[in-house]
C-alpha cells in the first residue's frame, strides 16, 4: 500500500493540478484568472512527462566522471519546448486581455456577454479599473 502511494503520488498530484487548472478555466469568468488556470493546466502536464523519466538514485543527464545512472533527457527537451509554448500563449492571451479591457471596459466575461454579443454595443468607455 505504502509502496503504491510512493509509486503513484507524482501522477496523483499531477492529475489533481490538471483538474484544478481545468476547473478554473471552465468555471471562472475573469479573464486573467482563466489564463492563470490555463497556466496551471499546462504546467501540470510538465510533471506528467518528467515523472516517468526520473530514475531513483540517478543524476541529471549531464555526462561526467563517476555517474552512471542518468534521468531520461528526452522528456526534458520536450518540456523545455512546452514551457516556451506555454509562456508564448500566456503572453498573447494577456495582450488580448489588455485590448479587451480597453474595448469593453471590463475583463469579466459575464459582463461582456450580458451586454449581448449580437447587438452592436455602444462606444467603449475606458474606465480604469479600481485598485
Amino acid at each position: 500500500m505504502l509502496e503504491d502511494i510512493v509509486n503513484y503520488y507524482n501522477y496523483f498530484i499531477t492529475l489533481f493540478l490538471m483538474s484544478a487548472g481545468l476547473y478554473i478555466v471552465v468555471a471562472r469568468g475573469n479573464m486573467v484568472k482563466k489564463l492563470v488556470g490555463l497556466g496551471l493546466f499546462q504546467t501540470s502536464v510538465y510533471l506528467l512527462y518528467l515523472s516517468p523519466g526520473k530514475i531513483l538514485g540517478g543524476t541529471p543527464p549531464i555526462l561526467g566522471e563517476g555517474f552512471t545512472v542518468f534521468a531520461n533527457p528526452l522528456p526534458h527537451v520536450l518540456i523545455l519546448t512546452a514551457i516556451v509554448v506555454g509562456v508564448a500563449t500566456l503572453a498573447l492571451g494577456l495582450a488580448l486581455v489588455v485590448r479587451i479591457n480597453e474595448a469593453f471596459g471590463t475583463i469579466e466575461e459575464t459582463e461582456i456577454f450580458e451586454n449581448g454579443s449580437e447587438v452592436d454595443p455602444p462606444e467603449p468607455d475606458n474606465k480604469a479599473g479600481g485598485l
Partner: protein, 140 residues
C-alpha cells in the same frame, strides 16, 4: 525616483554582470544547464531591470524598440539560415555534420549558431513584449 542614487549605482554595477552571466549561461550550455533560451531571458531581464530603475524612455534610447523588433525575426532567420546552409552543402535540413570535416566539431559549430538564433529571437521578443505592455499606459 529622485533620491534612489544607491539603487541606480548598484543597477549600473550589476548590469554588466547580468549580461556576462547571460553569456556564460549561453556558451556553457553545452556543459551545464542552460542555453540560448535561458540566456535570452536573462538579457531581457537585464533590459527590464534597467527600465524599471531608470524609466522606459532612457532604456529605449539604449535598446530602441525597432532594434528589439528586428531581433525577433533575425533569430529565426539565423536558425533557418543554418538549416538552408546545411541543405546547400548536401545534408538534410539542420544536419550539422557538413559544417566541418570532423562531425563532432561540426555538431558543436551548428549548435552554437542555432543557440545564437534562439538567444536573438527570445531576447528580442521578451524586450519587445515588455516595451509593448509598458508603453500601453493605463488610460488611453
Amino acid at each position: 525616483m529622485r533620491l534612489d542614487v544607491i539603487l541606480r549605482i548598484i543597477t549600473k554595477l550589476l548590469l554588466p554582470f547580468m549580461l556576462m552571466f547571460a553569456l556564460f549561461v549561453h556558451f556553457h550550455g553545452d556543459f551545464s544547464p542552460g542555453g540560448g533560451f535561458q540566456a535570452g531571458v536573462i538579457i531581457a531581464a537585464a533590459v527590464v531591470f534597467h527600465a524599471l530603475v531608470f524609466g522606459l524612455y532612457p532604456t529605449q534610447k539604449i535598446v530602441p524598440m525597432w532594434f528589439a523588433e528586428l531581433l525577433m525575426p533575425l533569430g529565426v532567420a539565423i536558425y533557418t539560415g543554418v538549416g538552408f546552409l546545411t541543405m546547400a552543402l548536401g545534408e538534410n535540413f539542420l544536419g550539422y555534420n557538413v559544417l566541418y570535416f570532423d562531425p563532432k566539431y561540426a555538431q558543436e559549430r551548428g549548435v552554437i549558431w542555432i543557440e545564437v538564433g534562439i538567444l536573438t529571437t527570445v531576447s528580442g521578443t521578451m524586450i519587445s513584449i515588455f516595451y509593448a505592455f509598458a508603453g500601453r499606459g493605463r488610460q488611453k
